[in-house]
């Protein structure tokens, strides 16, 4: 069972002359295929989208939005203060009766049009998202934009069937004005997740994108207008934490929906206590990804890669805590490390790229601090030696072996391409370890045995459990957490509850 680097050729000496291509190539590198950045159609400066118009911020302040893969400035984005937020909330309040009382089929038609326009402009949106966020074009093209369009399509279909979502005899009514604060990891997709069910339910919205990734939300404003969403129904206020706080604490907002870190989620929940405002939170995670010894290992490796290196690991449901049955640990780690050699890190606009840039300097510093913590705690840091670009924020795909449950890298959310590998011996131990977390957003299981998979699903305390796959999303499937991963569900008809009375 010893590992052999280069085994001997079983053939005896050749009786023929050597074939001219007998020697293997050192490498066979794929051709680069760079998407055209000019498709993003960037403006030099973006104002706020309030009441169907571009409005300059009251304090005349703008901040730079940069491309994290080059550190070059892409554009300037308005900084919304309390006055601007107030203006946006008033616009949403004024627009509420018209939107709520519009024939449902008419609302549906508009939302279908949004979905169609997202598809028509998918290439432009994908390039813009990749420039602003740093994610590979392959993902923005095949995941973000596609799912955003699907979300509007899905909820457009519910618009005239809302009464069927609630228990028989109850009439569905919108909550009112919704304040929605979204993160930077899936900027356009999170905007779609928040807006589509709210609009289908007849609510009006004030959306605040993350300060590092405002551009696709602002482009979405153009699309909403073109699709026929009336002025004031969706307002977009850009800015940082204080803009979000102004929105959350505005007295005339009926509901807050937040996706982001658990720390901020807790602050929001505290500040909303006693106000009567409704709240849904989609927060952090440290998902357990369970690999049993009867799993199809090669496909499990693909699932692990998809689970932790998708979107540079900046995914709240990332499979960041790998729990491997001890009897397959050696094989699995061997396969995983070999597979990691094939991960291409670099220009996110290259269609071959698998791993793009980390979204911000701040996030990169956080990830790097965890790399140090992991080494300091005694875990072994492994992964390919990648050549990283000179400018921009980059982190090579990494995994830690020899991780024990007490280490910080095993319990805290890193939100980067860093995998912690732990082991278990029996299914019961796997469950115990998987559930022993403050979080409970998602989990994954790899096993060939259906009965085992179902038993695990019953016992795992996580909002989403993937079996023999990972990080698969669909608009019809509810998503949300247990414990400190938040409450409320997005997606599916469950995703309408938070937006209906």
């Amino acid at each position: 069972m010893t590992r052999v680097q280069e085994s001997s050729d079983p053939r005896v000496e050749p009786k023929r002359p050597v074939h001219p291509l007998a020697a293997p190539p050192e490498s066979w590198d794929y051709a680069t295929s760079i998407e055209d950045a000019s498709l993003a159609n960037l403006r030099d400066r973006y104002d706020l989208w309030i009441d169907g118009e571009w409005v300059k911020p009251a304090k005349k302040l703008w901040f730079e939005s940069i491309n994290p893969s080059t550190e070059q400035t892409l554009s300037e984005v308005a900084h919304a203060g309390p006055t601007d937020v107030d203006k946006a909330v008033r616009a949403a309040r004024r627009a509420l009766p018209g939107w709520r009382d519009m024939p449902a089929s008419h609302r549906a038609r508009i939302l279908f049009a949004v979905s169609r326009l997202l598809q028509e402009r998918s290439r432009e949106l994908a390039v813009l998202e990749t420039l602003d966020n740093g994610k590979p074009i392959r993902e923005s093209r095949d995941v973000d934009v596609v799912l955003a369009a699907q979300h509007f399509f899905y909820y457009a279909g519910w618009t005239d069937k809302l009464d069927h979502v609630l228990p028989a005899g109850r009439k569905a009514e919108p909550i009112g004005v919704c304040g929605q604060v979204i993160p930077w990891n899936f900027p356009l997709l999170m905007a779609a997740w928040k807006l589509a069910p709210a609009l289908a339910g007849g609510n009006t919205c004030v959306l605040k994108p993350a300060e590092t990734t405002s551009l696709t939300a602002l482009r979405l404003a153009e699309i909403l207008e073109e699709a026929g969403v009336p002025p004031g129904v969706v307002n977009i206020v850009t800015g940082a934490g204080e803009t979000g706080a102004a929105l959350v604490n505005h007295p005339d907002v009926d509901k807050i929906a937040f996706t982001g870190s658990t720390d901020v989620g807790k602050l929001i929940q505290k500040s909303l206590a006693g106000t009567g405002k409704r709240l849904t939170l989609e927060l952090g995670g440290k998902a357990a990804h369970l690999i049993f010894d009867d799993a199809p290992l090669d496909q499990a490796v693909e699932g692990i890669i998809q689970g932790i290196y998708f979107n540079q690991g900046q995914v709240c449901c990332a499979g960041s805590r790998l729990l491997v049955q001890e009897s397959v640990e050696r094989q699995l780690i061997d396969l995983l490390l070999a597979r990691m050699q094939n991960i291409r890190v670099g220009n996110p606009l290259d269609k071959n790229t698998d791993l793009g840039a980390i979204n911000s300097e701040e996030q990169l510093a956080k990830i790097e601090s965890y790399l140090e913590i992991g080494e300091h705690e005694g875990a072994t840091r492994r992964g390919p030696q990648c050549e990283l670009p000179a400018s921009g924020y980059w982190c090579a795909p990494t995994l830690f072996t020899g991780v024990t449950p007490t280490m910080r890298i095993a319990t805290e959310e890193i939100f980067g391409p860093v995998l912690s590998v732990l082991t278990f011996r029996t299914p019961d131990e796997a469950i115990e370890k998987a559930n022993n977390s403050l979080y409970g957003l998602s989990a994954g299981i790899w096993s060939d045995k259906g009965s085992k998979v179902f038993r695990m699903i019953e016992k795992l305390r996580a909002g989403v459990v993937w079996a023999n796959t990972y990080n698969k999303f669909d608009a019809s499937s509810p998503f949300g957490g247990y414990k400190e991963s938040g409450f409320g569900r997005e997606g599916g008809w469950h995703g309408l509850f938070p937006y209906l009375k």
């Binding site: 069972m1 010893t2 590992r3 052999v4 085994s7 050729d9 079983p10 053939r11 005896v12 009786k15 023929r16 002359p17 050597v18 074939h19 001219p20 291509l21 007998a22 020697a23 293997p24 190539p25 050192e26 490498s27 066979w28 590198d29 794929y30 051709a31 680069t32 295929s33 010894d293 009867d294 799993a295 199809p296 290992l297 090669d298 496909q299 693909e302 699932g303 009897s327 397959v328 094989q331 061997d334 094939n342 269609k351 071959n352 060939d448 023999n468 796959t469």
Partner: protein
């Protein structure tokens, strides 16, 4: 897998081969198919494409396996094998000429002193439904007449009925009669039904002494597909890691375009690595593929397709 443990016999000689080959040889069809398709989207252009086409051509086992094959037909095929296109000096000869045993002396004479190998299908190709003694004689005759490589079919009836021992024994027996010739074992994956079965069959073939594992005969409805090839490449990689012997992989049947061939090369590149991008470790059993490789090479070199007859076909 080598010998099934017998719970009835008194003595079971312990050996490494009695252990299961891996903790798991199971394959998830959905994940495998998705991965194989994803690898078909790598960007193969310009220099990458030229290099890929030359490599693919050097891996071809130029094949004719018809009842209508004649010595003259085989002679023509051999000339093609040695020089796929007279007007493109940059193109290498193919790896081998693959024929029925009766025609081996013809090919042997034509290919003497060249780097192109003579490959014979034997063991009652393509169904393999003949007694072992006939399979042995078939194989022995091919080798004696000068075959460098022998492609045999596994007893897939035994394989489907679960008689792994017989599958193993037959391969091991034929390996003994191959002498210095190289043994390629055809699994006929299109008849196995699941990828679990493909992986197990591949592992048994490796442990019984195969130098190469090969997808198919080209004589059934489903032949080589990218997921099948990926599955077998994974087994070859696992076998080397666990047992220390390197195994080659041959795909065959239905591969007609350069695009398909390059897709398979990507599969090799990303499972076994570039060190296996030679005809020593990867082969493509095909006939008309050579025409398209030459045509696409000319297009990549000169920028245009000339006309339908710009490639001499045979």
């Amino acid at each position: 897998m080598a010998s099934q443990p017998s719970y009835h016999s008194e003595v079971v000689a312990p050996s490494m081969n009695d252990l299961p080959p891996l903790p798991s040889l199971s394959v998830d069809e959905v994940g495998l198919t998705a991965r194989a398709a994803e690898l078909g989207r790598r960007s193969i252009k310009k220099a990458t494409k030229l290099e890929g086409i030359r490599r693919a051509l050097s891996m071809v086992d130029l094949t004719t396996l018809e009842g209508a094959d004649t010595p003259d037909r085989v002679r023509r095929l051999c000339r093609r094998a040695l020089q796929p296109a007279a007007d493109e000096a940059g193109l290498p000869p193919v790896a081998a000429v693959c024929i029925y045993p009766r025609l081996v002396p013809v090919a042997y004479k034509e290919l003497l002193g060249s780097p192109v190998q003579v490959c014979a299908v034997a063991s009652g190709f393509p169904a393999g439904q003949v007694p072992l003694s006939v399979k042995i004689e078939d194989t022995r005759a091919a080798v004696e007449n000068g075959a460098d490589e022998v492609d045999i079919v596994v007893a897939r009836g035994s394989l489907l009925s679960g008689d792994w021992q017989r599958v193993f024994d037959e391969i091991a027996a034929l390996k003994e009669h191959c002498g210095r010739a190289h043994l390629k074992v055809i699994l006929e994956t299109g008849e196995l039904g699941t990828f679990d079965k493909v992986a197990h069959a591949a592992w048994v073939a490796c442990s019984a002494g195969a130098d190469f594992i090969k997808t198919s005969t080209g004589k059934v409805a489903v032949n080589s597909t990218p997921p099948t090839a990926l599955c077998m490449l994974n087994v070859a990689r696992d076998y080397e890691r666990e047992r220390g012997r390197r195994i080659g992989v041959k795909i065959a049947g239905g591969i007609r375009t350069s695009k398909e061939a390059l897709h398979y090369l990507v599969l090799v590149n990303e499972t076994l690595g570039p060190r296996s991008l030679t005809n020593k470790w990867f082969r493509i059993g095909a006939s008309s593929l050579v025409n398209d490789l030459v045509r696409q090479y000319k297009k990549a070199m000169h920028g245009t397709y000339q006309c339908a007859d710009d490639v001499v076909t045979d």
